[in-house]
Symmetry: C2
Subunit: 428 residues, 2 copies
């Protein structure tokens, strides 16, 4: 499509074209500086470069075309929204979490300043009219995972059709399992009502297969990063994970598998990225919604590779699959509950599972240290860092906690802290 | 008891005596400055002055004596812990929420700085060894109402025996009612296990009567404040509500009813407090745990009376009673659920009930304006202020939002803001 046709499409979606132009230009420049400047990138990243170059163009056109064909687009902010049910109803899901400082001033005209940047960013994209994904959505689906998101969905409901799923916080009780299962069933009903399509077993099984394949492909890429040197930069791997929330599932899965093929070959011949004399770092903590590349770019600017992400944009998304134990609808839905309740978000209490997972991952990926990221004012990941740090220390893995937002004011300060941290670490 | 005997008692409870002395001296001075200096106080406040003068003395001795007799002391941080079940098991409940800047440095040695002062304060009282109530507890009972408390209970569990109740956040679904009822039943079991006393219907009915009487007495006092001029200052009324979480229930209820008798007589003869030319303000928002008297003292220092508190330390505590519809244990427990799920905390979503209640209360109490208090970093009350302010505006009631902690640095700034706010209000 020509740029003019894109402009017409954005106009039809109700975007603020002037602001949106500023955003696209800034994004393009940041992407060039951070990604295209990297050395020795896998050839398979070309697909993802293309996706980003068309992130508000071709992909939005695909969504708009689907809408024209009567299909529904669902926006979500969190891993706990079961995308298997979205796809089983023949709808499409897109991630709406915001990772840009750009949209925050628009949010702060309505919301308090001292809540997390991710929440302000997605809200700002909507009220500022700068996100074509948001404006394509027939329904946005929130959840009760944290205070800031939970309450902002109420305000968001004035701007977009919003549905909220309750996620329980004490997950080891029969009553919380019952609540969660009921919420999954209610969401299934919601999708059926919205799309007019009854979700039958076959559709759900096919959707489970589709999403399992996507998660498995991402897991293949993650596994290759256990090699030393890792065959792909943390930035590129992060980007792939970020794109998983936006792209066409089948095409994305094929491209990720092609990348994984290449990375496995690289490992076989010892080709990798990063400085082999430097330690390997693992990232843990809050999600990094696109285009939040702040910590990865700071760390890797020092030649230090990031080899894993214990995060929603990372291991939490792809580690577990939906694996039904029977063929009935109840079995399928229970398998969905089983998978989703295994995602260790800091919203749970107590949450020893996550603490154990972080330590295990640090060992599996041979990480010399962990950078623990707290998005400013995120109480759950912030307080949970106490237990994570203690457990990592016991396992002999140093941790550096960085609390930050999307601003650039503290970049050099963080770089200095990461540099000091990595200097005291042994190369893995 | 002599002071030396108190000191021995505090030592036995494991307090840090030196720090505790500093706290008691500071408290005594603040109380004298703020409370005793008020003019035209009701005579019935003498009892509450006495309670405060013995807050770490006589009352703690009573708790220690109960412990010596084999009874259990339960500490709680939130209205959602059903005290009826505590008293039905012959245990005693005390509120542990912290309202003092004093204990925050001790907390910040462990916890992040940017979480709410109430959470830091109670945690600091425990780790600093300065709260004899905390150190008297056989069990502390938390809940999942907000991110900061929920996660800090996990850390607190390293310092004190801790039990956490799940409170659902979407309360209008059958699954959330089922979860909440199951949590109430589990808590009943917990109390039975801890005390060794099986809670029979008769004990529970008696406990419901006991606590209903306490809530009703507080409601009587609140009702008298609808008069113009109000017969009692906001500070004194706040104090009575704060003491309700600590004092012996029967003695407290008698004293509150005696105070209510006096206040009703004052109203009949037009005796009141505050400057009649000034507007009347209602307080709404976060709880003010003892000794947080900051906003009330600032407001009333301007001669402006506070006439109601839409708060956990206020209307949320006493408005609804437990009113069983049948005589079975299930009916009693369902009545507990019914009462507790009517408490409109900002943790719920959506929460139109609270918005409506704030507006209704402002009208009932003939408030010229509302001061909305957000404890710093409290996301739920902070974001909910948007909807509350909009609804109040629609009802013609101006609102002033004040976000603050327990520090004194911003006192003069807040006084200036409140003064400017009240100057634009009409006297009621």
């Amino acid at each position: 499509m020509s740029n003019q046709q894109y402009v017409e499409m954005w106009k039809d979606l109700g975007l603020n074209l002037e602001k949106h132009d500023v955003l696209l230009n800034a994004l393009g420049k940041a992407y060039g500086d951070l990604f295209m400047a990297q050395k020795n990138r896998p050839a398979g990243m070309k697909y993802f470069d293309f996706v980003i170059s068309e992130v508000h163009g071709l992909r939005i056109k695909e969504l708009v075309d689907r809408k024209k064909a009567g299909k529904k687009i669902i926006g979500a902010f969190c891993l706990y929204v079961p995308e298997e049910l979205v796809y089983a109803s023949d709808a499409t899901m897109v991630g709406l979490c915001g990772g840009a400082d750009f949209s925050i001033p628009d949010a702060e005209a309505v919301l308090p300043r001292n809540i997390c940047p991710l929440v302000k960013s997605f809200f700002g994209f909507k009220v500022g009219g700068t996100c074509p994904y948001f404006n394509s959505c027939d329904l946005v689906v929130g959840e009760t995972t944290c205070d800031a998101k939970k309450k902002v969905y109420e305000v968001l409901a004035d701007y977009a059709p919003t549905y909220v799923m309750e996620i329980p916080h004490k997950i080891d009780t029969p009553q919380s399992k019952a609540l969660w299962l009921a919420e999954i069933k209610q969401f299934k009903q919601q999708m059926e009502d919205l799309t007019g399509n009854v979700i039958e077993k076959d559709q759900l099984k096919e959707a489970i297969r589709l999403i399992n394949a996507k998660r498995s492909a991402l897991k293949r890429v993650a596994e290759t990063r256990k090699a030393s040197p890792p065959p792909i930069s943390g930035l590129d791997a992060l980007l792939v994970n970020q794109i998983s929330f936006y792209d066409d599932v089948t095409r994305f899965t094929q491209s990720v598998n092609a990348l994984a093929d290449e990375l496995e070959k690289r490992n076989a011949s010892g080709v990798g990225v990063g400085n082999p004399d430097k330690p390997r770092l693992m990232f843990s903590g809050c999600p990094m919604a696109i285009p939040n590349w702040k910590l990865h770019s700071i760390i890797e600017s020092l030649g230090v590779p990031v080899v894993a992400e214990e995060s929603c944009i990372g291991s939490r998304y792809f580690t577990d699959l939906v694996e039904p134990k029977g063929d009935s609808m109840d079995s399928l839905l229970e398998a969905i509950w089983d998978k989703y309740s295994s995602i260790s978000c800091a919203c749970f209490t107590p949450n020893e599972e996550r603490v154990t997972k972080v330590v295990d991952m640090a060992k599996e990926f041979n990480a010399s240290g962990v950078v623990y990221n707290v998005l400013q004012y995120c109480h759950t990941y912030n307080v949970e860092s106490i237990k994570v740090e203690k457990a990592l220390k016991k396992a002999g893995v140093p941790m550096l906690k960085i609390e930050t937002d999307y601003g650039t004011e503290d970049v050099e300060q963080i770089r200095t802290r990461v540099e000091a941290f990595t200097e005291m670490l042994h190369p893995a």
